[in-house]
Symmetry: C2
Subunit: 457 residues, 2 copies
């Protein structure tokens, strides 16, 4: 029997600096382009939406950026998060692999999202912003930002995709409890929303539409409101590196080091959070380590998308980002329940994948939910549907280690629990979910429509 | 700014023994009586329902009882749980009091209940039991036992009060994920259930009925099935003492010691878990400490009930227990949403209250929910409705400390998070909840009907 399962840190060991991978990338990310002029954007272009400190962080080249004391003080409500060795799962898989997981579900909002939400709310507060807007799909990001805004006395407007708004009253309620106003998107509060409603009054909404609404509300507020995004952007990914920085210390305590680091990828912040600090050791100290981002087979931008410029939202209000994308009009099949439905991937992860410094894997949802149930039945925690993608890949790697009879060490980020998002499990148990192999037409529908600049590189 | 918020223990510091308060009680609990003969029950009377080791623990007089290694191994999935100083809440209340809370919501089932569920499943497994039955109201106990049974390869049947079964599909789903079968009680699987359904086919069920069904299923299984209870019994309370034992070590790390220990009380296991180890220090070392059990004003057995023999269930199948009770037919008003609806209190807590070694307080639900929201808005975590009772009392004591300008140290047990039980908050925010002062008739309806032995003592 293995006796040590949990590796903990004292709150004094909460990282004092975020890790900025831009300092170490062999190929720096290409500039983002203005949606109209197609010229590289500068700080002034972003100033209506974001506070200056976050804009600076977006393009910063310093390797380490100090975490403000006030942000670390809020982190103490749940950080450092525990790192577990998954001994029960290892036994169940009868694998020679050693499996570790970092557990971010202990945060008040139940996921890794507050790591950046708190930082973003703090910098907005410091620059005098009193109102923020954002969008949320499943509700994880919206509740994380509601929690963070409550801490810093900021009013928050959340545009929640209508289908989630109706299916997930508890997510909305949690945001309300933390003082946020939540609207069912599309709304009649924005031109973007009105245009959609005029065409289809019963629109179920989409993340792309909700982003358009939240951005429009901030952009047209005469500077009263700013906007906040929960993934994709460089500063968001950087804030999440507290996860991997803690994990490095905890793996040391375990007397171990990962051969493979795994995390699911929607926009990229969860994957970046756990993997970038290990990539730092790979890029600067030559550590031999594989980092694998796992996406759903129904939204396979990393494994089947194109590396080119594309918009972050459906309507085309955001800057053009150089990224792996399926096209900003791509919508995953409605049968897909496992989260991670975003059409593109963050610029930083995209460039690293292009440069073969990280790997990608796409997995169908039935394998993911089966992995999630296996995890609940061995390690106890019911994982968020998004997190099950990482677990499915872990199981693949552990089985491979068994076939090859190799003792490998695998680390993954369990980014959140599933207790507030159980309708997907309900559908899984009820046999309502299916795997669907995307046809060539479905896969390239979004890309074929794209008018955005290609990247020759 | 107070810098240290979280006091953690290494998993090596998980207690090795449970604390049995029976060893230190100045007046030992009176014997439980057979429901028919009214004579003190012996081990043989309980053998059809419980494994022998738990029956021994029920009447054990040793002060310390060893926790089996296999149980501690499962505890490691979430124990030791963190102890926090509630600095944000202190600031919000502007109180000289120092407030600490032990947080049990980090367990896989989200509450303190797995502490005993794991122990009970283990002892059943050791004695060859392969099937257990139990009841659940809100679903917290059922999911804790489902998790525990899954760990030890035991099949579990859960009788879930129909109204919860219908309102809380996610609780049911969580139990299913951990392999339990869940039935909407009353069922047609038992004579107790059939009798109820014959009278009222649309019965919403009750905890008392569900207990009767679960007990009957075990009692009529020819020894194939045993029964498991999540609170009230002596061994259940003892298993929960890991909470207080850890808290003592953590308060030492904080360089502090509580003047007041507070917890909500339904059956008594949460209150016992945090307070009994401190009562050990009061009873054996003369420590000056107040322990306050908090009940809802709508189910005030401790503050307005009678200390006498009563049944544990509605139908009258269980032994007669010497306890504070409102009568086993008492049903809290349907407007009450805050949990803790049980008509009686555990024998151990009842005797301690009778002997003035602990105190009791009754609080109306609106004050409790307001306290819960204040806690979510300061400390981040949304508390379970049950836990809000403890928080309301903490706020009362902190306000009193402010009035008296005294620096007091208050510790409470945050027994669970509310993420799986948010419908009560929904009702609170929607203004659907009211406080109702029980009339004399309502309060004594159950007691006036009682035919059970009185206690002259």
């Amino acid at each position: 029997m293995i006796s040590h399962r949990k590796f903990i840190l004292d709150e004094k060991e909460i990282p004092e600096k975020w890790y900025n991978i831009q300092a170490d990338m062999p190929n720096k990310p290409l500039p983002s382009l203005h949606p109209v002029t197609k010229q590289p954007i500068g700080p002034d272009d972003l100033a209506p939406l974001f506070p200056m400190e976050l804009i600076k962080q977006e393009i910063a080249q310093e390797r380490w950026i100090e975490i403000p004391e006030e942000v670390r003080e809020v982190y103490k409500l749940w950080r450092p998060t525990p790192l577990f060795r998954a001994t029960n799962l290892e036994k169940e898989l009868d694998t020679p692999a050693k499996i570790y997981y970092k557990y971010e579900g202990v945060s008040p909002a139940g996921s890794h999202k507050p790591n950046t939400a708190v930082a973003q709310a703090y910098y907005n507060m410091k620059e005098g912003v009193r109102k923020l807007t954002t969008e949320t799909g499943a509700g994880q990001w919206g509740s994380a930002l509601a929690f963070a805004c409550e801490r810093f006395g900021i009013d928050l407007e959340v545009y929640m995709v209508r289908v989630s708004y109706e299916q997930k009253p508890y997510r909305k309620l949690l945001m309300n409890t933390w003082g946020a106003e939540v609207y069912s998107s599309p709304t009649d509060k924005t031109e973007s929303g009105k245009a959609i409603l005029a065409k289809s009054p019963n629109s179920p909404g989409s993340l792309g539409i909700a982003i358009s609404e939240a951005v429009e509300r901030a952009a047209t507020s005469n500077g009263e409101k700013k906007y906040s995004l929960g993934s994709v952007l460089n500063h968001v990914l950087m804030h999440q590196t507290v996860i991997g920085l803690e994990a490095i210390k905890q793996m040391e305590k375990a007397g171990d080091y990962p051969d493979i680091v795994i995390a699911p990828l929607g926009g990229g912040s969860n994957f970046a959070g756990i993997s970038f600090p290990f990539l730092n050791q790979k890029l600067t100290n030559g550590k031999d380590i594989r980092c694998i981002a796992v996406e759903p087979a129904s939204c396979p931008k990393l494994t089947k998308g194109e590396f080119r410029y594309d918009f972050g939202d459906t309507v085309g209000l955001t800057p053009l980002l150089p990224m792996y994308t399926l096209g900003h009009t791509f919508v995953p099949e409605s049968i897909h329940a496992g989260g991670l439905r975003y059409h593109g991937a963050s610029v930083l992860v995209s460039q690293l994948l292009k440069d073969k410094l990280v790997e990608a894997s796409a997995i169908h949802q039935l394998e993911c939910f089966a992995a999630g149930v296996k995890f609940a039945n061995t390690e106890g925690i019911l994982p968020a549907p998004e997190a099950t993608h990482g677990i499915a890949q872990v199981i693949r790697e552990a089985n491979k280690a068994k076939e090859e009879d190799k003792e490998k060490t695998i680390l993954f980020n369990l980014c959140g629990h599933g207790y507030l998002d159980m309708s997907a499990y309900q559908d899984y148990f009820d046999g309502k979910l299916e795997d669907h192999e995307l046809t060539h037409e479905e896969l390239y529908a979004g890309l074929n429509e794209l008018q955005t600049p290609r990247i020759e590189r």
